[in-house]
């Protein structure tokens, strides 16, 4: 095994040991400390969020990725969180917490909006 493959194997071992890697479809489940949480990926394409109403639980991770050639944002209506400007190909992630704004929109294009639904 060369040095590069050795490093990759070590990284994977660490990831599995901490329960951080388990991919399934468009979601990635994180089993760290025995608590199942999910990684949701929302693509921004053709002036739409790929999930208009996403079910997410506390502790889940949500990543927005902009696939449009113009910049977008995902911004909580109540101002509690904001991805900031996402240019083409850029991403932003956050962890779902209590009391976070659940309705969000694009600051640049207010015709774009979506919601998060908190589930147990």
């Amino acid at each position: 095994m060369n040095r590069r493959n050795c490093l990759i194997s070590m990284c994977l071992l660490v990831a599995f040991a901490t329960g951080a890697v388990h991919a399934s479809g468009g979601r990635i489940t994180n089993l760290k400390k025995g608590i199942a949480s999910t990684h949701h990926v929302i693509a921004i394409e053709q002036f739409r969020y790929s999930s208009v109403s996403l079910d997410a639980a506390l502790g889940d991770k949500i990543t927005w990725k902009n696939n449009d050639i113009v910049p977008h944002t995902a911004t909580a209506e109540n101002g509690s969180w904001d991805t900031g400007e996402l240019k083409y190909g850029e991403t932003y992630s956050l962890i779902v917490v209590e009391n976070m704004g659940l309705y969000y929109y694009c600051r640049f294009h207010p015709i774009m909006a979506a919601t998060l639904q908190l589930v147990q």
């Binding site: 053709q46 002036f47 449009d68 050639i69 910049p71 083409y88 640049f108 207010p110 015709i111 774009m112």
Partner: protein, 176 residues
């Protein structure tokens, strides 16, 4: 004659046989001429937006104008990158010239307005302008573009400009 602007010119270009006799139709433009029209239309809308930022005090108008600058610059950046990749130069043509000369008249008109009068006229012009350009892109350009990469960029641009049209429509309603 207050509202004889791009939409009228494009309607003439699309439908008038006497106009067609004197010049090409939009459907006759080649890919490089179409690219020139699109670039010109983007630059014109950026000019309107800068005027709005200078003359309007309305935060909604400012936000829209900043979006127009941001989006049209992003589209033009992609268009120039594609042309560079294809080692091609956009070609000036009758429609680009019409759009540019018409814009001078609109900018002169807008420059004389202030306050709510400016805001409403700017918003109405944005709505009419995007409607006209979208008609052109959807009906004449996309069906006729030969290069697949250029077509794909125009399809992405079409989505963007349709969103701008909806945004402008919302802005006009809020101002009325």
């Amino acid at each position: 004659m207050k509202k004889v602007h791009l939409s009228t010119i494009l309607a003439l270009a699309l439908g008038s046989t006497s106009f067609l006799a004197q010049a090409q139709t939009p459907a006759d433009l080649n890919d490089l001429e179409i690219a020139h029209v699109a670039y010109t239309a983007d630059v014109v809308d950026i000019r309107y937006a800068h005027l709005a930022l200078a003359l309007s005090q309305n935060p909604e108008i400012h936000e829209f104008a900043r979006t127009m600058i941001r989006d049209h610059e992003a589209v033009n950046e992609q268009a120039l990158a594609l042309l560079e990749k294809l080692k091609a130069q956009p070609q000036d043509n009758f429609l680009s010239q019409k759009i540019a000369s018409d814009a001078e008249g609109i900018i002169n008109e807008l420059s004389k307005l202030r306050g709510e009068e400016f805001d409403l006229r700017y918003a109405e012009n944005e709505l009419g302008y995007h409607k006209a350009v979208n008609g052109l892109v959807g009906d004449s350009f996309i069906p006729n573009i030969e290069n697949e990469e250029v077509k794909s960029l125009f399809e992405a641009g079409y989505d963007i400009f349709k969103a701008h049209e909806k945004h402008a429509e919302m802005m006009v309603k809020n101002l009325q």
